[in-house]
Structures are given as C-alpha cells and as structure tokens.
Symmetry: C2
Subunit: 237 residues, 2 copies
C-alpha cells in the first residue's frame, strides 16, 4: 500500500470570509465522504498541504478535527488514514443509524410545521427528478439533505452531529461499493415518512425512517454480497 494513488479533490471556492482551516476541513470532509481518498491510503500533512496549496498548519487542524469525528483514523505511527470497512463494523454502523435516526425523527416530529414539510416534499421531488433523469450522482447528497432537514426541525437538536459522524464513517464505503454496482433506481420510504408526519404518528415515522435506512443498504443484503463489496472497496489500497 504505497502512496502512489493521487487524490482528486473537488476544490470548493475559497471565500475570503472563511478561514483557511475551515476551507481545508470542508474540502477534506468532502473528499472522505465521496470516496476520493481510498481507505487505508496513508495521508501526510505536508502532502495534503502541497496538494491544497496551503501551509501545513491548517491541514493539521483539519485532520485532527476529522479524526475527532471518526472520519479519519490515527494509527499508532501517528499516520492518518480513512478507516477500512469490515462486515461487522458495517453492520454496527447501520444498526446505530437506525437507532439514532429514528430517535431523532421522533424528537423532531412535534416541531415540524407546514413550511418544513413543504421543504421535505421539495427535496423528495428533486430526488425523484434526478432519479428519472438517470443522474444518480447527487442522490445520496439529496437523501442526506432530506434526513438533515427532518431532524433539524428540533430546535434543541443534540443528535445531529452524532448522526453526521455515522454518515461520515459510512460514506466512503458506500461510494466505493456503489461504483461497482449498476445503480438501480433506489426506492426510498420518504413518502411513508411524510405521511406519518402529516398524521403526527411517531411510531409510523420511526418505522419509515428505519426502513428507509435499511433498504438503502440492501444492495449488500447477504453476507456474501457485503463481503464482495468490502473486498472491492479495499482492493485498491
């Protein structure tokens, strides 16, 4: 596993009002989330700094923050890398998502007003549109947007940062796995969720969210399939 594989960053615009550290953080976060950094690939501060054309300092801080969010793993040698996925860990992450997000949905339900529901409907319609156009790239980002919009209705939200940490840990594997998969139009349970919201039915909402998460992962429905995708996603590293 050498450090030959280049990293293709999608460099965002660097707004002057934003600190360099924050910009580096966002850039690296996206690179992790969208599988641009292969799991196991050793990252060095100076390499990233050179690649992003900044000094090592902001990179150091961004890496530490991402490690604190469990998006990156600090090895004993103090080297930093995207953690490799295992079947058991994948399973735990899915179960954790279902437990935490169904809870967040329930806690958000009382705060969802007509405007918020309309925003959810808009996002869902947008997902349908891009699915119909065969443009499967932005679907997962839009799907996240749907969930985030739902949970953040709760003005005293404390679980969203934890949920985002889980997304970050699942992100790279999902991207790499779906790359080796003819993307069938993913079905989601957003309609069921919105119906439950209209009826203020907490139980139905939790069920819809859990089903949505579970079915989002059922491209790896059997242990053999899952292991195949894990091998695929780790093969390059």
């Amino acid at each position: 596993m050498d450090k030959n594989s280049p990293i293709e960053f999608t460099l965002a615009e660097r707004d002057a009002s934003v600190t360099i550290t924050q910009w580096v953080y966002v850039t690296l976060r996206n690179a992790v989330m969208y599988g641009q950094i292969l799991p196991g690939r050793a990252l060095t501060i100076r390499e990233l700094a050179k690649e992003l054309d900044v000094s090592p300092m902001p990179v150091r801080e961004a890496l530490r923050q991402l490690a604190a969010e469990n998006a990156l793993e600090i090895q004993g040698n103090r080297r930093v890398m995207v953690p490799k996925m295992t079947a058991m860990k994948f399973n735990e992450l899915c179960q954790a998502r279902m437990a935490l997000e169904s809870h967040a949905a329930e806690r958000a339900l009382p705060y969802i007003d007509a405007e918020r529901l309309r925003a959810l409907q808009q996002i869902d319609a947008l997902i349908d549109d891009v699915q119909r156009d065969g443009n499967h790239g932005p679907v997962s980002a839009l799907n996240q947007e749907f969930h985030r919009t739902l949970y953040s209705a709760n003005p005293h939200q404390v679980t969203l940062p934890l949920i985002e940490s889980l997304w970050l840990q699942l992100g790279p594997f999902m991207k790499l796995a779906s790359a080796h998969l003819e993307v069938s139009s993913q079905v989601d349970r957003h309609t069921e969720a919105m119906d439950a919201i209209e009826k203020k039915d907490a139980i139905a909402l939790q069920l819809a969210i859990k089903s949505d998460i579970r079915e989002g992962f059922n491209f790896a429905s059997t242990p053999e399939l899952l292991q195949r995708f894990i091998d695929e996603s780790n093969r390059h590293s």
Copy 2:
C-alpha cells in the same frame, strides 16, 4: 462575564511517551467534565497555554478537538467556551443518552462473557463501598466506568465515542448542579442490569439501562427544580 474566575486544573502526570497535545487534551477534557471551567467563561489559547505551561500550539489543537466533540462551543467571534445548559437541551441530552445507550447495551450483550461480568460486578461493588463511606466524589466517574465497560464488550463498537460526547455535554452541568445538592446516596439499576445480562435478556437490560439513566437525573425531576439548578450553574458566569 469577565475572565476573572481562575481555573483550577488537576494537572495529570505528563508521561514522556505521550505528546503534549494529548496531555493538554486530557487535562482540558477533565476540567470540562468536572465543572472546573464555568459555562460561558471565555477561554483564550494564550491564557490556557500559560496556565498549563506549554506553547499555544498544543492548546489550539486540543481546543479544536474538544469543539469537534461538542464539549466546547466556538462562538462567532471565534471565542471558545463551555456551552451553557438550557432546560430543553438537558431534556434532549437525557433522551439521547437513553436511546443510544440502551442500543449500545443491547448490541454488547451477546459479547459479554464471565470475565466481563465479573469486571462489572467489581465496579458496582466499588461504587457501593465509596457510597457507604460517604465519599461521593468518584461515584460519577465509577458510574461512567460501569457503562463504558458494558458497552465496550462489543468488539465492533461504534457508538461509544458518540456516547462519550453526550457525557461530555452533560458533565459540567451535573457537577455544578450536584454541588448545590445534599448528595443523597444515589440508587442505581446496576444490579438489575447484571441480572439481565446473566439471563441474556436484552429487553430487561435495555429497561435497566434506561431506568439507571433516568433516575440518575431525577434530582431535577420537575421543571421548576431543573430550572433552579440551571440558574445555579449559570449564576457564576
């Protein structure tokens, strides 16, 4: 809210094998956890660096990490402080603990062997001992140790860092609130939990954990009591 109030750090031994940044991180984390830094108190890098007798660099990194774990809050002015507690946030944190920890307990249950159970019994016995001696200081740390030992039985654990984040957010308020409280011998549900473990009864274990958490907070069982403790904990700041 000036920066007059001094911070009494309990300086841990600085092992040579540990980086300064890690040592600073642990020191600051304990200071937050044990309410030594009052909520709302503005923290500056240079002040902490001087206090801990290190250069500003490790402090910067430790602060950023703690902020990523939601233990500290970065204000718009880029100032850092311990977040203040509100009644609604307290409620959300409790509910999140119950949801997340009962899930973690359930996922850990299949992995708990005789040795692990014995470790749990030892910790519980130790809690009883110090309670009987009227020494209520280390109880909350031991209580955390009990929960951590339980959840970490799962070798593929992914929720423990999230749980620790919730503990960190509740820690300062709990300490400051309990300071204005004649500490009655807290009863816990550890016995019920261990019984459920022996019977491999997941439902009973989840109930025990949820009850343990809920009753740990019932010093603020009514909204009026809770608000009184919040006012107390914010009064100094």
